[in-house]
């Protein structure tokens, strides 16, 4: 009955780099750092009560995905009422780094609805097979494929709109 869980350290050593990549890609480096720490703390809170150790990676990324959902909800709320024109954003080091890479695409990824975003990031930036994409979102494999397709479609649309705008 008793389940043998590896030391939390071992679990995190194995997945920390991917977890960081997932969150930095999904919400940006700054908020990604916050989400990363929140994910680790939430995971540690729940860890000893896990009933099985079958898919610890999936479990960890499900928590991370929820942080992305919470983050999207929070920034959605923040973005709603704009009484004054928004301040000119301070170009930070992260934005500069984004410029050197494909900033346009990265911004479009971060604007996807959370499920599509997680699906696309897991699939292409982390190169994960569909069962793992599904585990991270907490959905079926079919739904994971659907989210990847929908995400790609939306990215194509958003990028085309920007170019022609």
């Amino acid at each position: 009955m008793a389940v043998t869980l590896p030391p939390f350290q071992t679990l995190l050593d194995r997945h920390a780099a991917d977890l960081h990549r997932f969150l930095a890609a999904s919400v940006g480096p700054h908020d990604g750092a916050d989400c990363f720490q929140e994910t680790v703390v939430s995971a540690m809170r729940a860890y000893p009560d896990l009933r099985h150790a079958d898919n610890l990676r999936g479990w960890l990324f499900t928590i991370a995905h929820r942080k992305v959902v919470d983050h999207a909800r929070r920034s959605g709320r923040r973005a709603l009422p704009v009484a004054e024109p928004p301040e000119v954003p301070v170009p930070d080091a992260a934005a500069a780094a984004d410029d050197r890479v494909d900033g346009e695409l990265l911004a479009a990824v971060r604007a996807l609805p959370p499920k599509q975003r997680t699906a696309v990031v897991q699939r292409y930036l982390l190169d994960r097979p569909y069962p793992e994409v599904a585990a991270a979102i907490g959905c079926s494999e079919d739904a994971a494929r659907q989210n990847v397709r929908a995400g790609l479609q939306r990215l194509r649309h958003d990028l085309a709109t920007e170019v022609t705008a």
Partner: protein
């Protein structure tokens, strides 16, 4: 148009190219070394988890003249000092204490300072709260008795059997020594065979000899 790209593939390869872009540390450092962003985040997360009381076992590695030691503490005290490979130590702690085992050297600062002083010859006794949960029954009794043997002195397995009121239990004493979870601080290196032979040591006989010489209990 000279391109033969399928636009569908193009988006996918653009996405794949983002892969390492988000990993890169964003702030160049003066000395040219890339800061380990992930390691820093992990350390910060563990500190937050510790503040929330979520770290059941904190560990750190301490270099010593007898080789690297893996130290681990629970909120109740120092629970182990181990010579073996760190992975095995952590696995054992996860199985026997709690799977919430994380690298948190800060929680071991006091012990590490005392070990440094001991190895430098500036300390004879340890003032460390011990969590003895990894030993039970008679073994624990023997190890508690052993803790009373002072720096620079040695006893035999038989002495410890006698002192714990089980004169015939030398073998059980030997087992207690072999399974001592907190060597050095609980000084199983001070236990010799009757007649002066060294007996065994979990950290290897070289380590035992080093410790006994260091304490002036073994000449030559």
């Amino acid at each position: 148009m000279t391109t033969t790209h399928d636009p569908a593939d193009e988006l996918e390869s653009r996405l794949r190219r983002l892969r390492t872009a988000v990993d890169a540390p964003v702030a160049p450092t003066g000395n040219g070394a890339a800061p380990d962003v992930v390691a820093d985040l992990v350390a910060g997360a563990f500190a937050r988890a510790d503040a929330d009381g979520l770290v059941d076992v904190a560990w750190a590695v301490e270099d010593s003249p007898i080789g690297p030691l893996t130290l681990a503490a629970t909120p109740d005290g120092l629970v182990t000092i181990a010579f073996g490979p760190e992975d095995e130590v952590l696995d054992a702690l996860a199985a026997r204490v709690s799977p919430r085992v994380v690298h948190l050297p800060r929680r071991l600062d006091g012990v590490r300072r005392q070990l440094d002083e001991y190895f430098a010859g500036d300390r004879r006794d340890f003032d460390v709260v011990l969590d003895r949960r990894l030993s039970r029954g008679y073994r624990r009794e023997v190890l508690e008795e052993l803790s009373l043997v002072p720096f620079g002195q040695t006893v035999t397995y038989k002495d410890l059997a006698d002192r714990t009121g089980h004169p015939g239990a030398s073998r059980a004493v030997g087992t207690a020594m072999a399974t001592n979870p907190i060597p050095v601080v609980v000084p199983c290196h001070r236990v010799l065979r009757t007649g002066g032979a060294l007996g065994g040591y979990g950290g290897g006989l070289d380590a035992k000899v080093w410790l006994l010489r260091h304490e002036g209990a073994l000449l030559g």
